[in-house]
Amino acid sequence: MKFPVPHDVKGKTIPGTEGWELMYPYHYQFVTDDPERNQYEKDTFWFYDGLHYPEPLYPFDTIWDEAWYLALSQFNNRIFQVPPVRGVDHRIINGYVYISPVPVKNPDEIGQRVPNFMERAGYYYKNWDELEAKWKTKMEGTIAELEALPIPRLPEVEDLKVVTDGVGESTAYHLIKNYDDLINLGIRCWQYHFEFLNLGYAAYVFFMDFTQKLFPSIPLQRVTQMISGIDVIMYKSDDELKALAKKAVALEVDDVVTAHREWADVKAALAGQRHGDEWLAAFEKARYPWFNISSGTGWFHTDRSWNDNLNLPLDGIQTYIQKLRDGQEIDRPMEAVRAERDRVTAEYRDLIDNDQDRKQFDELLGCARTVFPYVENHLFYVEHWFHSVFWNKMREVAAIMQEHGLIAEIEDIWYLRRDEIKQALWDIVTAWATGVTPRGTKTWPAEIEWRKGVMQKFREWAPPPAIGIAPEVIQEPFTIVLWGVTNSSLSAWASVQEVADPDSITELKGFPASPGTVEGRARVCRSAEEIRDLQEGEILVAPTTSPSWAPAFAKIKACITDVGGVMSHAAIVCREYGMPAVVGTGHSTRVIKTGMTLRVDGSTGLVTIVQ
């Protein structure tokens, strides 16, 4: 498999974007002036992290990339000491993030790391439930601190109390301090994000791996099915929508709730009615914390939460009301999922030839089921709840910058790196204190205008799925599970890459994630806003899906994603609903157009463009 050389890719600067590198941390760059680093970069395999970054990264949003770069790597390498692998290295080209797991090459060193890992990771596996309970307390505390954190506006003159209480500190000091606190809470939250995650993924990977040794032909979706049907918080938000749909029918306000596409209109129509008020109260109650769920992956500031755009949960509620009127069951078929899980598990177990293997199977399955709730639930706490609040706190910071003329629009703040924002706040507070005009009012608006143009050009560029030289072995559990990097996915990516004309492609190969074969009309949705256009019975084609897209799955009959492995959201939900899914196709949203007729085979992973 051949992929382009990183420096060649980077060398072809898109005209008009010269100097883009300054928008991102300097150590994220592929280099040519340092022979040693240059050689290392050439010899390394880099793959595009499209799961997290389907769009080029805004300078501010780099914060989460830096946060996980640090957190994952430190837990792998410095805390648990995963024997054969260190952290995951990062680079950026034209705003797109490329990553690569770093192996420990010296066998002696790997050996030395083993006892550490056994002791440390072993402690976590052994005390998983207890440590997870502790984790939940830490995480909820962090979110509570975030929610309570004020972003103060600079007053014309400080309150008299500052004098009478002898405070001795100004609002300016609190503004820059709280900005730091805000950033630090974000970094802390991401420390917790990775506290358990790689251990959880390792438990998965090796349960999968062992099962595949026993049954070389077992589809991965059948392995993960054995860990399904466990209740997790991550799906609670969707359950709230179903409960609201049922309540609307029970209170006979469903006609009003489905009468308008805009939440404001629904709210106005319900207000003042006795049952209407009761339903509105239930709606308000569900919002905290359950509507703190992002309409995307939660990784980008552009992923607004349900609380930010109440039309999104409204659309979900309307879908469920329609299902109820049609006499359909809307609850996730958990009983059926569990019964099928138990049948499948028991049948496979019966096919195991010897007691030793059966015992090992039981052990690994038990471990995988123990870690499962964390692996799902951390997403709700970090990417959804924390992030939803965090982005809006940043918008409060942006409002102050706008007020002082450093940015024209609130949403302009994302074009600045977080250290540039810190500088700009210093510019503001010192100018405010001094009574002069901040210098940034002349520098930032122009810079931001230029960066907007650069970002637009980045968006029009298609990042190659992988660059560099593919290794023979991958030992980093995270990269295997989450991004579905395997030999077959790489060759599929490589082959599509070689086709110059996407219109000539009639077949796409991805991971068989949920079995079954259907034919239907394609609907390409790149955002949560677009899923509102989904029609009953269409095939959803998306870069990747997130839990807030759950209501969409009640409408579609199959799902195809660009990125994701067998444990991705789309894969899990499709298996629960018993509809086919093909994930990790690399390019489906680029090749497939809305309206095409597709055949999706979720058992083999083949997507055919029929028409």
């Binding site: 498999m1 995963v82 024997p83 054969p84 692998v85 790997i110 083993v114 890992f117 056994m118 990771a121 072993g122 596996y125 052994k126 390792a202 438990a203 990977v205 090796f206 791996d209 062992f210 040794k213 026993l214 049954f215 070389p216 032909s217 077992i218 589809p219 059948r222 049948r343 499948v344 049948e347 496979y348 096919l351 030839d353 010897n354 030793q356 293997d357 015992k359 090992q360 052990e363 690994l364 038990g366 471990c367 593919a470 290794p471 023979e472 072995v473 991958i474 030992q475 559990p477 295997i480 990097v485 395997t486 030999n487 790489l490 068989p512 079995p515 079954g516 058992s603 083999t604």
Partner: protein
């Protein structure tokens, strides 16, 4: 037992006497009938009684064979021809075999035995709503105490036989196959007295196969017990069994019955019944059908379901021949022709997959060290 079911001869069971039936319908047979009707017919009976769809038929039993040999009055001559043969001397073995087989095939079957067979054939025809139903005539053998499975593929099978005279003739040919040079040599080498062996013959309604083939209830190349692997081609199964074509290949998940792999090959020839000649002939598959999937998905699923049931019944991996009958409507046209225990993987001592790790943690560490191979 097991592997030895493939051998083509049977030692006369000591308890077999003149009161034993000479002809016996499959449904009256079961796994305990091997000494009487041989491995093939007893397993067909067993399958029918398990609820698997099998084309109906009857067996001429080992007692029937013994009676024929007695009545033909050729035992002394046969015996004389076999005297002093050396299992290494292929030329003499071949010559003796030819002479014995000609002798057996030319002797009449007694009226009494012929009546029994003719009556069974008539009943079978009535049952199939076909005058002179076309049948497969095949030797059904067992040798429970003979080691090895070296006789695989040696049984004589005659396809598309119609009319009682032809049926009788081919039954004799099956009888005579007990005296192939190879079979004689084998017995000499193993020290089995020739007069103590016998054979049974199955007469079975010919499935007029649109498509046919074989399937295994494990993966023949990896030994994976969680799949059923199906090979199929148009026409009778001969082209698949003999390896004359590269068949279509399907891998079905045994637990869920999903088709997880399909390989559609170019199938250039197939075997079909020539209705003028009333026999099975090889023909070229029309060009437009050569690359078409020879089984539809519903049939694949039904076959896999049957295979799963058969394996469960026998409690071990099985090797199964099957056919889709083109004269029968969908829903009742998928047939199992034969099922026998799989021998290659089943006789292999499989090493455990675990490295002997005691806990999940040990396993995770030992495998982290190895990593996941990409190529």
């Amino acid at each position: 037992m097991g592997s030895a079911l493939m051998a083509e001869e049977v030692r006369l069971a000591p308890g077999l006497d003149s009161r034993a039936p000479k002809v016996c319908f499959f449904e009256d047979c079961n796994k305990d009938s091997v000494p009487l009707v041989g491995g093939k017919c007893s397993s067909l009976g067993e399958l029918i009684n398990t609820g698997v769809r099998v084309p109906p038929g009857f067996a001429v039993t080992t007692a029937g064979y013994a009676q024929f040999m007695r009545e033909a009055g050729i035992q002394d001559e046969v015996h004389a021809l076999l005297q002093g043969l050396d299992h290494d001397d292929m030329d003499r073995l071949e010559a003796a075999s030819r002479e014995i087989r000609e002798m057996i095939e030319s002797r009449p079957i007694s009226i009494e035995l012929e009546d029994l067979i003719a009556e069974a054939y008539r009943k079978l025809s009535v049952r199939c709503y076909l005058p002179a139903v076309p049948v497969a005539v095949r030797s059904s053998a067992t040798a429970e105490d003979l080691p090895g499975a070296s006789f695989a593929g040696q049984q004589d099978t005659y396809l598309w036989i119609r009319g009682i005279d032809d049926v009788i003739h081919h039954i004799r040919r099956c009888f005579s196959s007990l005296y192939t040079a190879r079979a004689i040599a084998y017995r000499i080498r193993m020290g089995f007295p020739h007069e103590q062996v016998a054979i049974s013959v199955g007469v079975q309604k010919m499935a007029n196969a649109y498509t046919a083939g074989v399937m295994f209830t494990l993966h023949p190349s990896t030994g994976d017990r969680s799949v059923i692997v199906i090979d199929s081609n148009f026409g009778f199964g001969e082209s698949v069994v003999s390896g004359e074509v590269t068949p279509d290949n399907f891998v079905v998940n045994k637990v869920t019955l999903d088709i997880i792999e399909r390989t559609i090959s170019t199938k250039e020839i197939c075997y079909t019944a020539d209705l003028k000649l009333q026999r099975s002939v090889a023909m070229e598959v029309p060009a437009e059908r050569q690359n078409i999937q020879s089984l539809i998905d519903d049939e694949i699923t039904e076959l896999a379901w049957m295979a799963k049931k058969i394996e469960k019944h026998y409690g071990r991996p099985m090797d199964i021949e099957w056919a889709i009958d083109k004269n029968l409507p969908v829903g009742g046209n998928v047939f199992v022709l034969q099922a026998r225990p799989e021998t290659i993987w089943s006789n292999k001592q499989k090493a455990p997959a675990t490295t002997g790790a005691t806990s999940a943690m040990d396993y995770i560490v030992s495998n982290l060290l190895v990593g996941k191979r990409l190529s």
